[in-house]
């Protein structure tokens, strides 16, 4: 174990922070001023940093030094990523580490508060082949019934998820190719979803959230696949769930005019809070459109609006998480913990907690609620009326300062 270094240093914490900050061992070694081999030893647990090195290390990666001596919580279940491309290995590791930090934040806060009870449909599939389209539709219906959403458009998908006990994080990740990830936490006994805020599109964000919800319900007990086909199959199942959850067949189909046109769907887009592309996919899944019909609409969509954007994308602001933010507000308002002590309690940098909990930047630096307004000194407010009738305001003179 450690040799002359800080007692109780956890190498896993170092691995976690390397992933979260997207730093290589060599880069970190350069920043801390030690050799890469030393960092490797710290990481493997065969050596622990000296006090000064730990302070430098903590300052470089922006966490509390003491955080490295806290036992890491049990890992969350392995998340499923939209993109399994090898180019995104570091990005996936970073997102996974951020999700684990979100788990740490929620765990630290759950010492003081009870979060909403977990209320999700339970499915025990162990193989994606067991999941038929009918099973997916039934799971989506059950979810809506559990959450008392009826069959109309869901006003706020984030609110519904968090009300059902899901811990939701929405932050800029710098990896726009991976829209979100989700996992079950055994320590918290509840699921977590992390959404990327990089695209800033309210319609896509709702669909991404419903997609992750599909993974949490349908794929909870399925071992994460390595084969490409299996991964794709599970992604399609989560997509189908998202469509079924956001656009229930009975109510959505009755509003769709046939033959379907892009303009009709644009009108429905705002009402249902779902993009035209996702609606075309849903209509295909419901067999209202055949393969040829959906391809034709996608082709027209690309021709009219391009491949990525759609008209009205900016009409709906992305839904914001509330649970962690409200919990921190509650602790502060009820004087359970002073605002500035919260980052210390959690062990992460104030900026990281602000991002994970959706708090405004500088939240933990705020001293109080008293706002001081600037007041003109008496000497400065003396205006001199010139002979021409104009008003001359003199510059403040140092001699007037008290």
């Amino acid at each position: 174990m450690s040799r002359g270094g800080v007692q109780g240093f956890y190498g896993e914490r170092l691995s976690q922070v390397l992933a979260a900050r997207r730093l290589s061992q060599v880069q970190l070694a350069g920043l801390v001023g030690v050799s890469p081999a030393t960092v490797s030893k710290w990481r493997a647990g065969s050596q622990a940093p000296e006090r000064e090195a730990l302070d430098r290390l903590a300052s470089v990666v922006n966490v509390m030094p003491e955080w490295f001596t806290r036992a890491p919580a049990a890992k969350v279940s392995l998340p499923l990523f939209r993109s399994n491309a090898s180019a995104h290995v570091a990005a996936r590791a970073m997102l996974e580490a951020r999700l684990e930090w979100a788990q740490d934040v929620a765990l630290a806060l759950s010492e003081f508060v009870d979060f909403p009870a977990v209320h999700l449909p339970v499915r025990a599939f162990v193989d994606p082949d067991e999941i038929t389209p009918d099973e997916i539709e039934a799971a989506a219906v059950e979810c809506r019934e559990l959450w008392r959403l009826g069959r109309t458009a869901v006003q706020d998908v984030a609110l519904a998820n968090e009300g059902a006990g899901v811990v939701l994080i929405r932050e800029e990740t710098g990896v726009s190719q991976i829209e979100g990830l989700s996992a079950w936490s055994t320590e918290l006994g509840r699921p977590l979803i992390l959404l990327s805020a990089d695209k800033d599109n309210g319609y896509r964000s709702r669909f991404d959230l419903a997609h992750e919800l599909g993974h949490l319900i349908l794929h909870r007990h399925i071992v994460r696949p390595t084969e490409r086909e299996r991964h794709k199959q599970m992604e399609l199942q989560a997509h189908r769930f998202a469509g079924a959850f956001l656009l229930p067949p009975e109510s959505f189909s009755s509003e769709v005019r046939t033959p379907v046109t892009l303009d009709d769907l644009l009108l429905l887009k705002r009402r249902w809070g779902v993009s035209v592309a996702a609606m075309v996919m849903r209509l295909r899944a419901l067999k209202i459109l055949d393969e040829e019909g959906s391809q034709l609409l996608f082709k027209r969509r690309s021709a009219r609006w391009g491949a990525k954007a759609e008209p009205g994308d900016g009409d709906r602001l992305p839904e914001q998480p509330r649970l962690l933010r409200r919990t921190i507000d509650l602790l502060v308002d009820e004087h359970v913990m002073p605002r500035e002590a919260i980052p210390r309690h959690i062990g992460l940098a104030a900026h990281d907690i602000e991002m994970l909990a959706g708090l405004p930047e500088g939240y933990f630096q705020a001293k109080g609620n008293v706002v001081q307004f600037a007041r003109l000194r008496a000497a400065n407010s003396e205006a001199v009326a010139s002979a021409a009738g104009n008003t001359v305001v003199p510059f403040p003179s140092p001699t007037f300062k008290r």
């Binding site: 003081f112 508060v113 009870d114 869901v154 009300g163 009820e334 004087h335 359970v336």
Partner: protein, 215 residues
């Protein structure tokens, strides 16, 4: 001034006429119109509009009758030129066609006018009376009204809109009328206009007391 009662005509319709029946009638009227136009194709241009109109009457009566039967709405038998009527809860259901625009065709049928008399009991729901109180009626009348473009050059194979309409007692005005696509949304369970906010973390027992002490 007397207050309007809490009850409303659309709420009465939703309670008495099932969503499945309304959707069945919607499909029936569309398919009836389509069959009528299909059957008239090839007839002489000189009387084609009349042929289409007449065929619509018969074909749509047939499909309407079928939809009422499937929806267990006790349809009256098909006999000659007679109206087809069904019954769902307190409502007697009928149908007629009109050209889009002014609703001129409603009063043409003497039987329809007689049927509409029952709706006097619904009028206090729209306009309060000084001396009469609203009492939930035992009978009322609603019509499915298929609106056609009025020209064989514009969507001749089907109605441009189908409404559900509740006439006043002398069929000179409408107490309620709404396009079926809008009306069908009324069947969605009223989950309240605002989604419930359940994102409420609660302080664990003991933490609140600690907090008060700190304050």
């Amino acid at each position: 001034m007397p207050q309007l009662p809490q009850e409303s005509i659309p709420a009465l319709l939703v309670r008495n006429v099932s969503r499945e029946l309304v959707m069945g009638v919607e499909d029936a009227l569309k398919s009836g119109a389509e069959r009528a136009y299909g059957a008239a194709i090839g007839m002489d241009e000189g009387h084609l509009p009349h042929v289409v109109g007449q065929l619509r009457h018969f074909k749509m009566n047939e499909t309407f009758h079928q939809a009422l039967a499937v929806g267990q709405a006790q349809p009256s038998p098909i006999r000659g030129n007679g109206l087809i009527m069904g019954r769902a809860g307190i409502f007697t259901l009928g149908r007629f066609n009109i050209p889009a625009g002014f609703w001129v065709n409603g009063r043409r049928s003497h039987i329809r006018q007689q049927m509409a008399l029952a709706n006097k009991a619904l009028e206090p729901l729209v306009q309060t009376a000084l001396f009469e109180q609203y009492v939930e009626p035992a009978a009322a009348v609603a019509f499915f009204v298929a609106c056609f473009s009025g020209s064989l050059k514009l969507q001749p194979e089907g109605p441009v809109a189908i409404h559900i309409a509740v006439p006043d007692h002398d069929m000179r005005g409408w107490l309620f009328r709404e396009c079926l696509s809008t009306f069908l949304q009324r069947y969605e369970p009223a989950t309240s206009t605002t989604q419930p906010d359940l994102v409420t973390p609660k302080l664990k027992q003991g933490q609140a007391a600690k907090g008060e002490g700190a304050a």
